[in-house]
Symmetry: C2
Subunit: 193 residues, 2 copies
DNA sequence: CGTCTATTTGAATGTACTCAAAAGCGGTGG
DNA sequence: CCACCGCTTTTGAGTACATTCAAATAGACG
């Protein structure tokens, strides 16, 4: 259960066996079945979730009733609503599972305690936040400069593992286009391949 | 010169007078004249810049030769390229000034030293990163769900101070539309006001 | 097998784009 | 101070890409 988490953390900071043992005590294992929710909009996102197994998404529904996907997450990723989590405010996002999933949850207080107990984790979380911030900057610039087709190809290239595990309409939503448009883009690409 | 920085930091963490005095030693004051560059694409972004006075932007130029604005910054904001800064890689962004500006620069090594000298700063920078990450998430979701007109109105509401200080075509670029489209949106809004 | 949802396709519409040109504005030098 | 120059903003006309609405086909799941 904790193997993947260990590898994940060791990519960013060094930890002794004892330190890792200690760190695991702050996490709460949790299973989320396919189509079930980890977070429902309106609730506070109490946990940051590390994905050990499975596939999930976070999304909002806008005034027009349209779904917009903020994030996908598979093994070795985190998912949550940072705003709600850090500011203790109700979330506008919902998070549900595309597959039966196994998570390790870390609540806000436990994160604080973990950082106090093993200060290296302060650095770990800063690095994590940094990587996410950089990735979101990239997504912004791409949405400004690339056509829908280019964004789709980039997505395929960057997240092949996600592409093969989520319905096409979800990818369309992530890219900010309709499922119909994505279907046409795919047809166009297959013709000119 | 350092007054604004003090207020800025005290919004997030507590500091004694002595601690603040010490912290200022890590910053390098710098002036950037109107139309001059703080960072040129291809160079490594060696500094995070806190804006004491003035107005700047960071932007890239895509394969088609189009400019895309990543960020504006005025007083009390930071500007830089986090990826280049933290990963020590050449930046794809350039940063220049719309007005004569006064900055306080903090290089990567100084940031580390500051965090070691006054550990509370580790927390300060994490909070800063957090706020920026949350803001960029919001920008992504807005670009997915809102029309150009709605995004323009949101920009006006969220950043009135920036709106009045940068040319309209720069705002168009930030919003991901052409200057012509923004002009038409404005005409449309003024008719239906 | 039947139902429900996802995907594809078609036709018409709309929003934002490109190209082109006019009008407005700000700064500079005579 | 005014005339000129360059750049920004506006406007017009035609186009392209993505959307909506509608319907057919294909897949997944019980």
């Amino acid at each position: 259960m904790f193997d993947l988490l260990r590898k994940h953390i060791l990519k960013r900071i060094d930890l002794t066996k004892a330190e890792f043992q200690q760190c695991t005590t702050y996490f709460i294992p949790k299973r989320v079945r396919k189509h079930r929710y980890l977070l429902e909009s309106g609730d506070v996102s109490r946990y940051a979730a590390f994905v050990v197994k499975g596939c999930l998404r976070s999304y909002t529904i806008d005034q027009a009733g349209e779904e917009h996907i903020a994030q996908f997450a598979i093994e070795d990723w985190w998912i949550g609503d940072p705003y709600s989590y850090f500011e203790n405010q109700p979330s506008v996002y919902s998070i549900d599972a595309f597959e039966d999933s196994e998570l390790l949850l870390l609540d806000r207080a436990s994160m604080e305690k973990l950082c106090l107990a093993i200060p290296k984790f302060e650095r770990f979380f800063r690095l994590l936040l940094q990587a996410n911030f950089i990735a979101s900057q990239r997504r912004i610039m791409q949405s400004l400069s690339a056509t829908a087709e280019e964004r789709y190809l980039q997505f395929l290239k960057n997240y092949p593992a996600i592409f093969s595990r989520v319905p096409q309409k979800q990818i369309a939503s992530y890219l900010g286009i309709t499922p119909q448009s994505l279907s046409r883009i795919r047809r166009h690409l297959s013709k000119h391949a």
